[in-house]
């Protein structure tokens, strides 16, 4: 804002500025009305976990995206605006169930997620099969990339399976961290190898 030499103009700027609390109250009212009018296509919030802050985003069908701490959340939101709808707003109450389950997972009270998922960001039939099969790999266990490819019906496609896992839009909930290299190395992870190691430690697969 340019400094104002005219005292009347300066007083106008000063006097008109709405306080942050006024802006917050008006915004809350708007979001409530937009929500009941069905204008919000994607709602998101952030959740603090022992391994860093994560982003949760949902459509009316369910959880559509989970952003890991390594990701740029602005980039994730741009991607959602681009691929689903630009009507993306921060609306934590739409993600209450997901946030609760994630809290329970990290506190050790939960081993399986029971959340409606919107799989529209998973592209390609093979990727859908690979990620669907992961729901059969329970907490505390892991399979190899070749095994993931085999389970998805293409035993030789371990590289494609790796790509499918790497493009998982809902990591943690779709447990792509439970796929490791044959021979003991844990392999890559969209959220960084350190996070994968900590998740596998948390689940007791590593010790």
């Amino acid at each position: 804002m340019t400094p104002e030499r005219n005292p009347v103009a300066a007083a106008l700027r000063r006097g008109a500025a709405a306080e942050d609390t006024d802006v917050a109250r008006a915004t809350d009212g708007f979001l409530r009305r937009a929500d009941s009018a069905g204008l919000i296509d994607v709602a998101y919030t952030t959740v603090d976990t022992p391994f860093g802050t994560m982003l949760l985003a949902a459509t009316d069908r369910g959880l559509v995206r989970l952003g890991l701490p390594m990701e740029t959340f602005d980039g994730v939101l741009d991607e959602l605006a681009d691929r689903i709808s630009p009507r993306v707003v921060e609306l934590p109450r739409r993600l209450d169930a997901a946030r609760r389950e994630i809290d329970e997972y990290f506190s050790g009270a939960r081993r399986e997620f029971d959340l409606p998922l919107d799989r529209r960001l998973i592209t390609g039939a093979f990727a859908v099969r690979v990620l669907d099969e992961l729901s059969q790999v329970p907490f505390g266990q892991a399979i190899t990339y070749s095994e993931a490819a085999l389970r998805a019906g293409s035993p030789r496609a371990h590289r494609a399976a790796g790509n499918a896992l790497g493009s998982n839009p809902i990591p943690l909930v779709i447990p792509c961290h439970r796929v490791v290299r044959s021979g003991g190395a844990i392999g890559g992870y969209g959220g960084g190898p350190e996070l994968k190691r900590r998740l596998l430690l948390h689940e007791g697969w590593l010790s």
């Binding site: 006024d22 008006a26 009018a37 994607v42 009507r87």
Partner: protein
Amino acid sequence: MAKSLPPFQAFLDEHRAPVLSFLRSMVGPDDADDIFQETFMAAMRSYDRLDGRHPRAWVMTIARNKAIDHHRAGARRPVPRDELPEVPSPHGIPGAGADRELWSAVAALPPKQRTAVALRFAGDLAYAEVAATMDCSEEAARRSVHEGLKRLRTTVAAGMEDG
């Protein structure tokens, strides 16, 4: 395919404070929240059509039209859409003390000057954006703001000298 739009949250974050300030100066704090909500509801509904337009001027145009509708509804008589009533708004005025007095004086300005002054200083718009919002030339926007300020200076000069 059209250039992709930023998430609506980014649009909201960028424009909500100046829109609320503008509306408070147009209709007073009591009614500003409701018109703010209607403004962003309308903006969200037609967000896809923003495409290429200046976002601040676009949302301020919506806010201005909503404020005019509000005045018209309050007046309970037909008023041309582009005109604000000449009568000062009976609703609350933001601020306190000298600022409050100043905004009362703004409320008493002729409609064009009032809108231009509110857009320029409460809405924090550049003259080009004031012009785009009011659908007039930049020269006309400058003139309205200038005349408004001149009138305000004579009305509230005494009160301002203490500050």
